[in-house]
């Protein structure tokens, strides 16, 4: 084992240990378990955006659509179809992911700034639907009347609704599965073609990589991850509302990824932690929290474009 690999393992162990014991150390810093669950889910969202942005070089500024679709589908399943948390998650992931994959097929020939614009506009379609379709979604008031259900293992049940710590560990488990899958894909030959496309699309094309197909697959995968995160978010809040589909949230995810370091795997999680905690704090002390968040974004763009982890690890990726 080389020194690099040892260091890598040590960092991984530290990250997972911190996440595993979060309910016990967070209170010392003013955190609370429910906030921990929220950060994990939004972090997963940021990592899903970054799966596409940081590792394929494709900027989607409408990913909140898949997040929100997942949330609504999960909530509606729990409310109308089945009182089962896993089924809700499955339904949310499938609905959001499939919708994203289908739309992605339409968009994948666009590039760069045009791609960003088209994804914003199409993302708003779903915001608009959630806003208008009162009978199904509850419109501006949001979708209520569902709650996460206990996990039923036959012999025993785990109460996710009333016990925040149990729920945190459930979220952590889901997070670990999704993130593990992401890391696995990025380490596969397919994942390396994503990075090749990011690095030099022309060269990748000439190697014989059908660039559009690969971008589409990466886009679709990222939509599934995003929808999974959105479904979890519905469970975190027992609630879904149109703002979960709005491009502002897409922008938040992108800024989390950039802030943490979009060329790094864990950066977006760090970005999400800082962003969510800061937002939580600022909005509790001032009504002008929007200005502060806006200022934060401007400062990051101007002074920390490579993000926190990007600065620690100069010019090295994958």
């Amino acid at each position: 084992m080389t020194a690099d690999q040892r260091k890598h393992l040590a960092v991984l162990a530290a990250i997972w240990a911190a996440l595993l014991f979060a309910p016990y150390w967070m209170p010392f810093f003013g955190g609370y378990t429910a906030l921990g669950s929220r950060v994990l889910v939004l972090g997963l969202g940021a990592m899903s955006v970054n799966f596409l942005l940081g590792f394929t070089g494709v900027l989607s500024f409408g990913h909140a659509a898949w997040f929100g679709l997942g949330a609504y589908a999960c909530g509606l399943t729990l409310k109308h179809i089945a009182l089962s948390t896993p089924l809700g998650l499955l339904a949310g992931t499938l609905v959001g992911g499939v919708a994203g994959a289908l739309l992605g097929a339409l968009l994948v020939r666009r590039r760069g700034i045009y791609f960003a614009m088209v994804t914003i506009a199409f993302g708003q379609v779903f915001y608009y639907i959630a806003f208008q379709w009162l009978s199904l979604t509850g419109g501006d008031d949001g979708l209520r009347g569902f709650a996460r259900q206990p996990l039923d293992f036959g012999l025993f049940q785990i109460d996710l609704l009333h016990n925040d710590i149990y729920f945190y560990y459930f979220v952590l488990f889901c997070f670990a599965v999704a993130v593990g899958l992401m890391a696995f894909i990025l380490g596969s030959p397919f994942g390396r073609t994503m990075i090749a496309i990011r690095e030099n699309e022309r060269r990748a094309r000439f190697l014989g990589i059908p660039v559009e197909l690969h971008i589409w697959i990466a886009f679709a995968l990222s939509c599934f991850f995003m929808a999974f995160a959105g479904s979890l978010y519905a469970l975190v809040n027992n609630f879904a509302d149109p703002r979960m589909l709005h491009y502002s949230l897409s922008g938040d995810f992108v800024i989390m990824a950039v802030m943490g370091g979009m060329r790094t795997f864990w950066g977006p999680l760090l970005g999400a932690i800082v962003f969510v905690v800061l937002q939580d704090y600022i909005s509790s002390v001032t009504v002008n929290w929007m200005s502060f968040i806006g200022l934060l974004i401007v400062l990051i763009v101007l002074f920390f474009p490579r993000g926190f982890l990007g600065m620690l690890r100069p010019r090295r990726t994958a």
Partner: protein, 249 residues
């Protein structure tokens, strides 16, 4: 059977004729240099052969098969690899990673979620072999974008080699290099040429390199074929003297 046969190839861009009715034949294992002043149509010829542009007229035969209508990325699969005038690499990855991507795609693994043990071992062997051939083994873990310009060009050639081509097209491999780097690239090309059945076509401005390496030389001028022959014949050719060598001197 010839490695490459180009017949009456023409490429027009609007009213500009970049390549005008060029025919040439390259034999297997040959090292052919293509020279000519700027704007002679050398790179356009490369782009036609490698499938970047479709020709306006004429045909291209590769190993005896007509590939005129075959798209660029499929020509790669048929055993044709090229480098570019401007270095085309994956700059933020290491030399090893650059070559690994090429090797994986060339082996048809691009959509694979994982590789089994023997596939991994075979791939590893191919990468190591390529690194050794290009004398890059010592720099395998360096980020390509941070290498010296000459080493980047070598890395790019190594990427092309990882495709295991039969025909290698090199577009000005020594462009922008100092004497030492030019010497090293020349040695590399000579090694590749000596090592096996690889057919190489080389666009080059540096006449020392051309006359040192080439089996035969093709001279283009203003999109037309001006002359073709051994280095000795070309050096003695009066038309070439006036059109090109005279200028350069």
């Amino acid at each position: 059977m010839s490695a490459l046969e180009v017949e009456h190839l023409t490429k027009r861009f609007g009213s500009l004729v970049a390549v005008h009715d060029i025919s040439l034949t390259v034999e297997p294992g040959e090292l052919r240099a293509v020279i000519g002043p700027n704007g002679a149509g050398k790179t356009t010829l490369f782009n036609l052969v490698s499938g970047f542009f479709a020709p306006s007229a004429g045909s291209i035969l590769f190993d005896g098969a007509d590939i005129t209508g075959v798209p660029a990325h499929r020509r790669v699969g048929l055993g044709m690899a090229r480098t570019f005038q401007i270095t085309e690499i994956f700059p933020e990855l290491t030399v090893f990673e650059n070559i690994r991507i090429v090797a994986e795609v060339a082996a048809g693994y691009r959509l694979r979620p994982w590789l089994n043990r023997s596939e991994k071992a075979e791939l590893r062997g191919r990468i190591d072999e390529t690194l050794a051939l290009a004398a890059l083994s010592g720099k395998a873990d360096r980020v390509v974008g941070e290498l010296a310009h000459g080493d980047q060009r070598v890395a790019e050639i190594a990427m092309a080699l990882a495709l295991k081509p039969n025909l290698l097209l090199l577009d000005e491999p020594t462009a922008g290099m100092g004497d030492q780097e030019t010497y090293e690239i020349t040695q590399l090309i000579r090694r590749l040429h000596k090592a096996g059945k690889l057919t190489i076509i080389l666009i080059e401005h540096d006449m020392r390199v051309v006359f040192h390496l080439a089996d035969r030389i093709t001279v283009l001028d203003q999109g037309r074929l001006l002359a073709e022959g051994t280095p000795q014949e070309i050096a003695a050719n009066a038309a070439v003297q006036t059109a090109y060598l005279g200028q350069a001197a």
